[in-house]
């Protein structure tokens, strides 16, 4: 028998949702102040003041009407997390909609969901004339969402309650760097902010060296860093990374994309001086192997079919796109249509597989994740050993992830459930795309890019695409970022509210 949620359950969810909304509203003051003080753009700043005020008002009202001192239960925490991403999408879309650079409010919702989930697919119109204030928000979105919307609330507003732990897990982060979840959340912010400062300085300096004016160079630096480290792939200009026409700029972004796709736990180990971890960890090993294989196939195919001839071209177009796909960043050094028109099926297949596999767990990257791929490989190896060895033999499979662990069936089951969920998501978007008249390859490419939070596009994503496809991709980006579990919890909650007794 399904139990219908009580008013106290709804109040509990509303209370925590209010806190997250309040946190989101406060973050909108960043572009408001930057727009007013740094960029001297009063009208775009007003858009953010309005957005921030609406968010703060809703946040305060929710915490007023839903005032409670009850702790969150696990299912409630998951509902809070999944709802908070939808609320953030709608509220974060307000300032962008007021910019007049989007054809509909749905397009702005698509853009904010794409930003918060660190995807990077965009529906903006005339990006080259968008204000710096709005552009800063487009790039700040991934920086907030990459670390986690609930993590902001946990870090500053919720405190170290058990609800915080559940929300942290609900946001697809099941690894604690330090025993206390609040300190873990704060450490994630610390890593991100230190990298942000370093990254902005480096990219700003590179920007000046390639001919950008100093103010422009540092603006591009901060935007490209936030979207690169947080594996989102947005850029301030419509040409994306191609705009810079610079090998050095591309190399620096490759480094940040890889750093962003690494597990925060790995960053923590490196921070503590444990450098050996990077070579021992199952995720980094799997990532290295997968990148090498995908690069070999892609570069081989591009060279064989004469798409690019020189080594430099193959590096800057082939290898760059593979890194961009594998880290789920989505930075593009070619035009979207060139994938389908020029790349050929073999290179495209390697790129789609790289996107589907994604980066590391507990990072800003999306996709199935390297930890899961590594565990599936280890489980297959264990099963093969069991088949080959006598029945009485005990086969224990170990793997190293921060510490050496013995592979258990429970882990493998969990990994396979999430992997199947991702494959289902990739397939769902592909079916919708094919149903709407796009070719299977194009549909699979774009659907995988959305669900794995990559952001590479073969040209389908456009303001003129059907509404049903925009909604499908929004759902894919959201479900992919939350690794499905919190979305299932929300669906279960809605079903219980309708059919429960």
């Amino acid at each position: 028998m399904i139990l219908r949620p009580q008013l106290t359950d709804i109040k509990n969810i509303g209370y925590y949702l209010g806190k997250i909304t309040l946190g989101l509203g406060l973050t909108m003051f960043v572009p408001f102040i930057a727009g007013l003080v740094l960029f001297k753009e009063p009208n775009p700043s007003l858009d953010f003041l309005i957005g921030a005020e609406i968010a703060v008002f809703i946040g305060l009202a929710l915490s007023w009407f839903c005032q409670t001192e009850r702790e969150l239960r696990t299912a409630q925490a998951m509902v809070v997390v999944s709802l908070s991403w939808l609320v953030a999408m709608a509220l974060g879309a307000i300032p962008l909609f007021l910019s007049g650079h989007y054809k509909s409010f749905l397009d702005t919702c698509f853009e904010t969901m794409s930003g918060f989930t660190t995807t990077g697919l965009t529906l903006v119109q005339d990006l080259d004339h968008l204000s710096r204030t709005h552009n800063l928000w487009r790039h700040l979105g991934p920086f907030i969402g990459g670390q986690g919307i609930a993590i902001i609330a946990i870090s500053f507003l919720v405190g170290g309650s058990s609800g915080a732990v559940k929300m942290y897990i609900g946001e697809a982060r099941d690894e604690k760097l330090v025993p206390n979840v609040v300190n873990t959340a704060r450490f994630i912010w610390l890593i991100s902010i230190v990298y942000l400062i370093l990254g902005t300085i480096i990219l700003g300096a590179v920007g000046i060296s390639i001919g950008l004016k100093p103010q422009s160079a540092f603006f591009h630096g901060v935007c490209i860093f936030m979207a690169g480290f947080d594996t989102a792939g947005f850029a301030p200009q419509s040409q994306n990374i191609l705009y810079y026409h610079s090998l050095l700029f591309e190399i620096v972004t490759i480094v940040f994309m890889i750093l962003g796709s690494f597990n925060f736990n790995l960053h923590y180990q490196l921070w503590r001086g444990n450098r050996k971890e990077i070579w021992k960890n199952i995720e980094t090993r799997t990532f290295l192997f997968a990148v090498m294989l995908a690069s070999l196939i892609t570069i081989g195919a591009l060279r064989h079919f004469g798409v690019y001839s020189g080594a430099m071209m193959l590096f800057r177009k082939g290898f760059y796109q593979i890194i961009s796909a594998h880290t789920t960043t989505g930075y593009m050094s070619i035009y979207a249509q060139q994938f389908i028109k020029e790349w050929g099926d073999v290179a495209l297949t390697a790129l789609i597989i790289a996107m589907a596999l994604g980066g590391c767990a507990c990072s800003t990257a999306g996709g199935i994740k390297m930890l899961r791929v590594g565990i599936i490989y280890k489980a297959l190896r264990q099963d093969l050993k069991k088949m080959l060895l006598p029945g009485s033999a005990v086969v224990a499979q170990k793997f190293h992830h921060i510490k050496t662990l013995v592979l258990e069936d429970k882990q493998v089951r969990g990994v396979l459930v999430v992997t199947c969920g991702y494959i289902f998501l990739y397939g769902l978007g592909t079916l919708v795309g094919v149903g709407l008249g796009y070719s299977p390859v194009e549909s699979l490419f774009e659907s995988t890019s959305a669900a794995a939070n990559v952001g590479l596009s073969c040209g389908i994503t456009d303001a003129g695409m059907p509404v049903i496809l925009k909604i499908t991709y929004i759902i894919e980006m959201w479900a992919g970022r939350l690794e499905l579990m919190s979305v299932f919890a929300l669906v279960g909650f809605i079903v219980a509210a309708i059919r429960g007794k």
Partner: protein, 182 residues
């Protein structure tokens, strides 16, 4: 004998004239073809979609100069947007002296027509899709975009501010009765 000699000389002259007409008309046709190619600017969508077809050919491309002009030694990178896409333009710095406005939020950039060699994947520039410019014509000058303050939005923001402030005061008053502020 004399007659036939004069006749053959006449034929030779005629043949020479014919050759001249054929050559000059084919040259004129070729020049017209080139002129037509340059006369009709090709859109960025067409250039990207049919990149192989235009690869290595002379094209005319028209659009607004946007973003930064990035000087690299004696040449520079321009971004020219025709409304659909921006394409990278590699140009000698001597040719860009007339470009005074580049498109951004605060400025409408100069409208230019580029004539140059289109590259699907430029060998010199690591495979970038670009145009190596031979000439630039400024069609119209850009301008600053005036940014008058949106009074309606300001009033709306002030109204919302009062609402938020009131709610906050109510919460503050409630917190004195033991209910947590946030």
């Amino acid at each position: 004998m004399y007659k036939s000699k004069t006749q053959s000389a006449k034929y030779k002259v005629k043949a020479r004239n014919l050759k001249f007409y054929v050559l000059s008309s084919s040259f004129a046709l070729f020049a017209l073809h080139l002129a037509l190619c340059f006369a009709q600017p090709i859109s960025s969508t067409e250039l990207i979609k049919d990149a192989k077809q235009y690869d290595g050919k002379m094209v005319a491309y028209q659009g607004e100069v946007v973003g930064d002009i990035m000087i690299r030694g004696k040449c520079a990178w321009l971004s020219v947007n025709d409304g659909s896409n921006a394409i990278g333009i590699w140009v000698d710095t001597k040719l860009i002296k007339d470009i005074l406005h580049t498109g951004s939020y605060k400025e409408k950039g100069d409208l230019v027509e580029i004539k140059g060699e289109f590259n699907r994947s430029c060998f010199e520039h690591g495979g970038d899709l670009d145009i190596h410019t031979q000439s630039i014509d400024k069609i119209s000058s850009g301008r600053e975009i005036s940014q008058a303050l949106n009074i309606k939005a300001l009033h709306f923001a002030l109204g919302l501010f009062y609402a938020v402030f009131l709610l906050f005061l109510l919460k503050l008053w409630r917190s004195k009765r033991g209910v947590p502020l946030l």
